[in-house]
């Protein structure tokens, strides 16, 4: 799907040609594809309409960051907006000032309520609580039995009064038991129902009225289509929901329903269910879901990370320095640290489309330890040494090796490689100055996509452990350069 949306967007922009700013036509063309992607992800029709309108307004006239292609720029805006709608911050469970805290789970049949009750209990017990699960679904055959079994399996206490009792009474009694015996929270499993089933909705209202839950969470299936909006609206109208648990995200559903529900009822998504096992409950992260809804893998997070971590101005200065051959170890260190801020190196490379596969094919291993070693070596130098590596004589090398916990040979190798790179860069710079639109310019301009990578790419130290040359890694570096040429 990533391929689909990004490729389509790229095609759109190829037709239009590159421009400094996103024009109205660019944006409209691009948003047609985005709209389709959202609808295919089951985001509600009207939510998509409003969303597209909002993005359009934001995107038109926006300057295309020099690090991104226009297609990436549009996706970045779309992604940011998605995250905004999904809720940019994680909202934790609320706890009652007077225990026990009562958490009621509601939703359609088959959304996964009973399973989530057990998961939530398990999760909260791990956090040191003493949860009591309450089986208040007396309608589905064996629903009470299911919760009892789950309780037994995971050693979680379950309160039930069989299937003959009034569920509202059952719940009231359960709360009393919890209060007397110090259980907290009380997690209630309710019967699955259609939001238009009047008697059942009334039962829920009576239940909520009777025990005043701190949290009423709607359990919604990530595979739900356009109907999600109607369901959430009605449950919210009747019960004033406080949050959402999105289930079955371990499948390949894109989960656009979550966006619809967020947009329409505004309650936060508190947890996501990622499997049938009792530990498959995770806190919700808006950016991950946004990425999933767009169906774009992790490339997006890379764009995001690049945007966040790389100071544009600094990137430009670095590039100039590189070309002028005045790039020193100080600059290199800064570059290295910026890249590191973005996450583990291998993970970063994996995120580049095709790169993960390439890395596996070539069996390239780029370990973060090597990265650390290089950093340690440079950090053990004085500022003077970093600016002017030529002054580093044997005794300085010994000091640096000791300080960084490496060997003199490793320090020497790093310095040699750095010098080689500096020379190469200077040569490239001269060439590039002569033909600024030529292929070499473009090679360096790979930084357009990921400004941090030229240094990484060009520096021989990365990908090879100075003291332990790895031929495969050399090969891999070579490959990645080729790859960049192709990507232009």
């Amino acid at each position: 799907m990533f391929e689909a949306l990004t490729d389509r967007l790229t095609q759109v922009f190829q037709r239009i040609g590159r421009k400094g700013r996103l024009t109205e036509e660019d944006v409209d063309e691009a948003l047609r594809e985005v709209r389709r992607a959202l609808l295919e992800a089951d985001v509600h029709y009207t939510v998509v309409r409003d969303f597209i309108a909002a993005v359009r307004e934001r995107a038109i006239g926006e300057e295309v960051l020099r690090s991104l292609t226009p297609a990436q720029q549009v996706i970045a805006i779309v992604h940011q907006e998605l995250v905004r709608v999904l809720g940019s911050e994680r909202v934790p469970l609320q706890w009652a000032s007077q225990p026990p805290t009562i958490i009621m789970l509601v939703g359609l049949q088959g959304s996964g309520k009973t399973t989530q009750v057990a998961k939530l209990g398990y999760h909260l017990r791990k956090e040191g609580r003493r949860p009591l699960l309450v089986a208040a679904d007396i309608y589905r055959p064996a629903a009470v039995e299911q919760l009892r079994t789950l309780g037994k399996q995971h050693d979680l206490p379950v309160y039930d009064e069989g299937t003959k009792a009034d569920p509202v009474e059952t719940v009231k009694h359960a709360v009393k038991v919890a209060r007397d015996q110090g259980y907290n929270p009380v997690i209630i499993d309710t019967a699955g129902r259609l939001q238009i089933d009047e008697p059942m909705m009334q039962e829920l209202e009576r239940m909520a009225e009777a025990v005043r839950p701190t949290e009423i969470l709607l359990v919604a299936d990530a595979m739900t289509g356009q109907e999600a909006v109607n369901v959430a609206k009605e449950f919210h109208r009747r019960l004033s929901l406080t949050g959402l648990i999105l289930t079955k995200l371990d499948g390949d559903a894109r989960g656009g329903a979550a966006l619809s529900i967020r947009a329409v009822v505004g309650v936060p998504i508190k947890f996501i269910g990622t499997g049938e096992r009792v530990d498959a409950l995770e806190p919700f992260y808006p950016d991950r879901l946004a990425t999933r809804i767009l169906g774009m893998g992790d490339v997006l997070s890379l764009i995001e990370k690049a945007q966040q971590q790389i100071n544009q101005e600094e990137g430009k200065k670095l590039q100039e320095k590189l070309l002028a051959g005045t790039f020193d170890l100080e600059d290199f260190l800064r570059q290295l640290q910026q890249v590191k801020k973005m996450g583990p190196l291998t993970q970063l490379l994996e995120m580049i489309p095709g790169m993960g596969q390439l890395l596996r094919q070539q069996q390239v291993q780029i370990s973060d330890d090597e990265y650390k070693r290089i950093e340690a070596i440079i950090l053990s130098m004085t500022p003077e040494e970093r600016r002017n590596p030529d002054i580093i004589n044997y005794s300085r090398r010994r000091r640096i090796a000791q300080g960084s916990g490496t060997t003199i040979a490793e320090v020497s190798q790093l310095l040699t490689q750095f010098k080689q790179m500096q020379r190469m860069m200077a040569e490239l710079g001269q060439l590039a100055a002569g033909r600024s639109r030529g292929p070499l310019r473009g090679l360096l301009g790979a930084g357009n996509a990921f400004p941090s990578l030229p240094g990484l790419d060009g520096f021989p130290g990365i990908g090879t452990a100075p003291a332990r040359p790895q031929p495969a890694a050399h090969h891999g570096r070579h490959q990645s350069k080729k790859k960049k040429k192709k990507r232009r």
């Binding site: 359609l108 049949q109 039995e145 079994t149 109907e227 999600a228 079955k248 894109r254 049938e276």
Partner: protein, 320 residues
């Protein structure tokens, strides 16, 4: 109502489908009326139809395909006003479903050879309830039925099926929770033979189609069945619930690869969801819908009728 004048029902829809779908269409009905009360076919009409179909979960591609055909008929001059457009759209929708219906295998029930029906689907679509309904349906047709509890995974799934068996007076073959589903099915096949059962309904655990090991388990169950009756299962029913969005298409695709789905059972049509994903499945995979579920009672069930479905869902009369 204005509709009755233009839509004569060709076949009277089943009462279950009617009452179940009544709620589904109430919201959408008014939209449709307003839609076609326009004086001319214009861009806006198509935009609104698109909104309508997408909100019914037909998906972008199927919606576009239907509207393109409609547009083509407008271009050819066959369709000149909104009333004709409505009729044309209705025809196209029915035709789409009927094309898939032609792939249906005729269901032959023989004495002495159990008709084996394997019921599969993702979690929570209503497989067990559908089994109960199917049992009721076959009992009403005078066939003997045996249920097999091959969902040994979900806590209390076996109890749920047993509870249904008791209510319906139908025997249930079950093992302990956590048992090998293949072994349960094996016993079920044997029992069906020994007891001369007409219809064997196998309940399987809900599984997401992305779990390849669980999908492989379905293939194994198929092999166990075939060891007893080579041309079985006679029916592999994928249960999809009407609230399912576009992921339903992936479900249908993968379940078909792993378990050879022959038909769809579309459940939970008693809500406001329209089950439009069934159009997408019919169009892209050619899998027909066999049954619809319209409630929690065993009688809330009907054989699928494309005309009745389309009429009741999108073009029904408000009064009834």
């Amino acid at each position: 109502m204005i509709f009755s004048r233009f839509f004569r029902r060709r076949t009277p829809p089943s009462p279950q489908l009617e009452s179940g779908l009544k709620r589904s269409r109430q919201g959408i009905f008014r939209q449709i009326v307003q839609l076609f009360e326009r004086s001319q076919i214009d861009r806006e009409l198509f935009d609104d139809l698109e909104a309508l179909l997408i909100q019914a979960d037909l998906g972008v591609a199927t919606t576009e395909a239907l509207l393109e055909r409609l547009q083509e008929r407008v271009r050819r001059g066959e369709v000149r006003d909104p009333v004709e457009a409505r009729e044309a759209l209705r025809e196209e929708m029915v035709a789409l479903l009927e094309a898939a219906m032609r792939n249906r295998r005729v269901k032959i029930y023989q004495r002495g050879v159990p008709f084996v029906s394997l019921v599969v689907g993702v979690n929570g679509t209503g497989k067990t309830t559908t089994i109960a309904k199917l049992a009721r349906y076959h009992l009403d047709q005078g066939r003997t039925v045996l249920l097999v509890a091959a969902d040994t995974f979900r806590a209390a799934a076996i109890d749920q099926l047993k509870a249904w068996g008791e209510r319906l007076g139908v025997p249930v073959i079950a093992h302990a929770p956590g048992a090998d589903p293949g072994a349960v099915v094996f016993d079920g096949m044997q029992a069906a033979h020994n007891r001369g059962i007409d219809v064997l309904l196998i309940d399987t655990a809900g599984r997401l189609h992305t779990k390849s090991n669980l999908m492989a388990e379905l293939a194994k169950i198929r092999r166990v069945i075939q060891r007893h009756v080579p041309d079985a299962p006679h029916e592999v029913l994928l249960v999809i619930d009407a609230t399912t969005g576009q992921n339903g298409l992936n479900q249908a695709r993968v379940f078909t690869e792993a378990a050879g789905v022959t038909d769809i059972a579309l459940t939970k049509l008693d809500g406001t969801a329209k089950g439009g994903i069934a159009f997408a499945i019919a169009r892209e995979l050619g899998i027909p819908i066999a049954y619809v579920g319209t409630g929690e009672k065993p009688t809330d069930f009907a054989e699928f009728d494309p005309e009745a479905y389309v009429d009741a869902l999108f073009f029904g009369d408000e009064e009834d």
